[in-house]
Amino acid sequence: MTLIEEIVDARPGSDLAEALTHRAEILRLSQSTHDAVLFPQSPGAISHGLRAALASRMARQYEVPKLAEHYEELIQQSRDNDEPHDAATDAQTAAIVAHCDLLTLRPRDATRADIEKLKASGMGEPDVVRLAELAAFVSYQARVIKGLQALKGAK
């Protein structure tokens, strides 16, 4: 049972549960992506603990409380696995949170200047892409959950 299925909790035997069995491979790949984005082997400037914290913040912004709770549970667990030297500086963390909010709330307003701000805080090119992938994945995951929840009441 993948995280998306757990949270959506389709009624066994319903049309939605039936449809999801036809999309098992997509749900499985979605779970693999979650693992790659939350627990990467090369996290760069965005430690596992910070990733879980950003994901819980985004899940709240998308108004998916059960997803936020999942990420809140991961925060401490992920922090315990992070190396002390993995921590981003305060300035970097502030820049990361601001950019994450932009990608979540107003992606259409993003410009070159926003990438320059990240780089000015000491983020390298790989970190800029890592952050975009994290925010983009949580957007996908939250929307799949919201969309499937909306279909639950369907005949």
Binding site: Q61, Y62, L105, A135, A136, F137, V144, A150, L151
Partner: protein, 196 residues
């Protein structure tokens, strides 16, 4: 100096990254594998070379993308593309909108749908089934998602079965992802006219 494309169009622009892409010549084995570079496949776009900075994400995302957009049963390919266009309009990703609008046109042979969407965006008036698909994908793409209580019934009334509705959720959500990469890591620029 190349000009940035500001308006929705079906002419696919050139995507210019804001950061320096990975160079194919110095890419690591992990990056090459994530980009699916093989001796017979060396044509890698600037977009994929940019995403190769995070090979762990790219490697898992590519198969997921292909399954969601090119699955054989369920929602028709053209309607998956329409879901992608709905998300891209909300997020104003000119590049994604151009690619997927032209795919919709090629598949559906109904360019009037895209003309209307590019002209009036969220106010577009479409045939009932197109309207239900476009509206749902746009509503799901807002932050937070703004799906009305009637959404499931609206899709069913427009003739979508549950599997088709699930596929619409997936393609719309996938484009929230693609737009957040394509539109925020670079910009669409005008294609150079070929020199005569």
């Amino acid at each position: 100096m190349t000009r940035v494309v500001e308006n929705f169009t079906t002419q696919v622009p050139v995507w210019s990254p804001y950061i320096k892409p990975v160079e194919l010549a110095s890419a690591t084995p992990e990056q090459l594998a994530a980009m699916q570079v093989t001796p017979s496949n060396k044509g890698v776009s600037p977009y994929v070379l940019t995403l190769a900075h995070d090979p762990e994400s790219l490697a898992v995302r590519s198969p997921l993308f292909n399954q969601i957009m090119y699955g054989k049963d369920g929602l028709s390919s053209a309607e998956r593309e329409l879901g992608a266009v709905g998300a891209s309009v909300v997020n104003r990703c000119i590049y994604c909108a151009a690619v997927h609008a032209s795919r919709f046109n090629n598949l559906s042979k109904r360019p009037g749908v895209i003309d209307e969407i590019f002209e009036r965006e969220r106010q577009a008036r479409l045939e009932p089934r197109d309207q239900a698909i476009f509206d749902f994908s746009a509503q799901l793409s807002e932050t937070p998602p703004a799906i009305p209580k009637t959404a499931a019934a609206d899709l069913a009334n427009a003739g979508l079965n549950t599997l088709e509705a699930v596929d619409l959720v997936l393609s719309s959500a996938l484009f929230g992802w693609a737009n957040r990469l394509m539109h925020t890591l670079g910009e669409p620029t005008e294609r150079e006219q070929a020199p005569r």
